[in-house]
Amino acid sequence: MPAVYLYAIADRPKAPLPSSRGLQGASLSSLACGDLAAVFSPLTATDVQATESALWLHEEVVEALMAERAVLPVRFGSVFSNEAAVRAELMARYTALVAALDRVRGRVELGLRVLWDDDQEAIRKKWEITDHAQCSSRAPRALSPGDGRSYLMTRLEEERRAQARRQRAEALAAEIHTPLTRLAVASARQVLITPRLLLTGAYLLEHDRVAAFRREVEMLSAAHSVLRFLCTGPWPPYSFADV
């Protein structure tokens, strides 16, 4: 038996497969395990290269499946030595996989990134006001070599600014994330993964809430004109497929 490349776990094992091709031009197959199906294609060479086209091909297979069935997208690069190894994995985690499929059925994921810019005038002004209020009682002190106190004061000031920035980011992120969670059945968020990436959000939505979600993003964007909003999707539920 050849090695197999796995795309997704789906429900309805008897449903027809998409006619599209998998990696290395192979046809898609599926193997059933109770109420689950693992969708895969055979590999002639097991060294799967993670190229851009391969990533999109994986995604296209998952999306084609998702049009008809509930799916749990499998992380890119999952190769098994044969079908029996896949079946063993499905059996070992059967209950968790069925529960995860129930969670994502009829739902899609939308992604949001919100970028901010420290140099933006509006944000900087707010910070200056805070800085003046807190620094006015502190006399400026010349920095001289070996001046441990000056060094310490500088470090403290840096720390205080970083903390204020973090607090501001958390507050802004909550202003954006909270209304969006009201439209979602599940969500995940990260704040300041990089200095300018204020919020990274993933939202699991009922299919018919996507339009409303986009409208909400548009309103939030209008209300936060100094921030940049990037919204993508609908995606397969990658961020909500943890088993």
């Binding site: 796995l6 999306e63 990134r113 209008a222």
Partner: protein, 87 residues
């Protein structure tokens, strides 16, 4: 299906990478793509992935706007870029 502008695809690719390489069900087989290989993907796309902030440079002015629901890969667009392309 309509062809999307290259930069538009790149922004969406960024989001795809985040998901397909870092999320999704982990059913690691006994022969799997190594972590080093995944790192190579990122290296190969380093123009795009110098940081996620690169996305900002790729986008046009504006913000997300309401659009008809879309489901296919090639139609999935980062809305402001799409608007810029259509203008």
């Amino acid at each position: 299906m309509r062809q999307l502008a290259a930069r538009e695809k790149e922004v969406t690719l960024l989001d795809l990478l985040d998901r397909i390489l870092n999320k999704g069900v982990i059913l690691w087989g006994d022969v799997t793509l190594s972590v080093a290989d995944v790192d190579l993907v990122y290296l190969g796309l380093k123009v795009l992935l110098t940081s996620v902030e690169t996305a900002e440079r790729m986008r046009g002015a504006g913000s997300c706007y309401t659009q008809p629901e879309r489901n296919t890969v090639t139609d999935r667009a980062f809305a402001p870029l799409e608007r810029a392309v259509e203008d």
